[in-house]
């Protein structure tokens, strides 16, 4: 005779795993922010744009600079809709003036 098994209990809804992203600042952004790097805690699935919104909330004056900043994720230029992953290095690149 077949036994009827109870389904296992559903897991509780997972709190989104937090990821840590290291943000690097250079040149005028160091002057603005007062430091060269900062670690951000972001929800899994966050994008570069989310990281920027987070910084805009934390750093007075950053929001107005953001449109003139480019982003490099692990040393490659990316657009702001790219997702970040735990351990990523996100560099904020003001307009460059080498040469």
């Amino acid at each position: 005779m077949a036994e009827t098994k109870l389904p296992p209990p559903a897991p509780p809804p997972a709190a989104p795993a937090a990821i840590r992203v290291r943000v690097l600042f250079f040149a005028s952004l160091v002057d603005l922010i007062g430091e060269r790097r900062r670690d951000l805690q972001l929800p899994a699935g966050a994008t570069v744009a989310d990281a920027l919104r987070c910084l805009s909330a934390e750093v007075p004056g950053f929001a107005s600079r953001a449109p003139h900043v480019s982003y490099a994720l692990n040393e490659a230029f990316v657009s702001s809709d790219v997702a970040v992953s735990d351990g990523d290095e996100l560099a904020l690149i003001p307009p460059v003036s080498g040469g």
Binding site: F26, S28, D31, S70, A72, F77, A91, I93, V96, G98
Partner: protein, 143 residues
């Protein structure tokens, strides 16, 4: 290929020697040197800051693009960091090629492209202050 960031003065003859191969008939070099003025103001000195690991990676990529496009085997690219006095070279490029057209074109390509996307920043020091130079026209975009 030589591709480097350096906090020491750039040794230009070393770069030229590096690209002086027996099969090359022409060597074009470009030096960026510190001018004593900027937009009409007297410049006292300059400072260069780099996102070093990425800057070197971008410089390598640009050199690779040039060697592929012009069929070159001899390029040297050195960029200075730190504080520079008037007349010191901030960047030096040497390109050797069998014929001069390729040497000139590749050298020009490398400096033009470096200025658009290598993460290095220049600070101009005046008598009464200092500013980071951030031309919006040089804002890099993803490629």
């Amino acid at each position: 290929m030589i591709v480097e960031l350096t906090s020491d003065p750039i040794d230009v003859p070393r770069l030229i020697d590096h690209v002086n191969r027996p099969s090359n008939g022409g060597i074009c070099t470009f030096l960026g040197v510190v001018r004593d003025n900027a937009e009409g103001r007297s410049v006292v000195k300059l400072g260069y800051e780099a996102y070093e690991s990425m800057a070197v990676a971008q410089m390598r990529e640009i050199v690779h693009e040039a060697t592929e496009r012009w069929g070159l085997d001899a390029v040297a690219l050195s960029h200075r960091t730190g504080e520079l006095q008037i007349g010191e070279a901030s960047v030096a490029i040497a390109v050797g090629a069998p014929h001069r057209a390729e040497a000139f074109e590749a050298c020009r390509y490398i400096i033009d492209t470096l200025k658009t996307r290598v993460p290095i920043w220049k600070k101009e020091f005046f008598q009464d202050g200092a500013v980071w130079v951030e031309p919006v026209s040089s804002q890099p975009s993803p490629r």
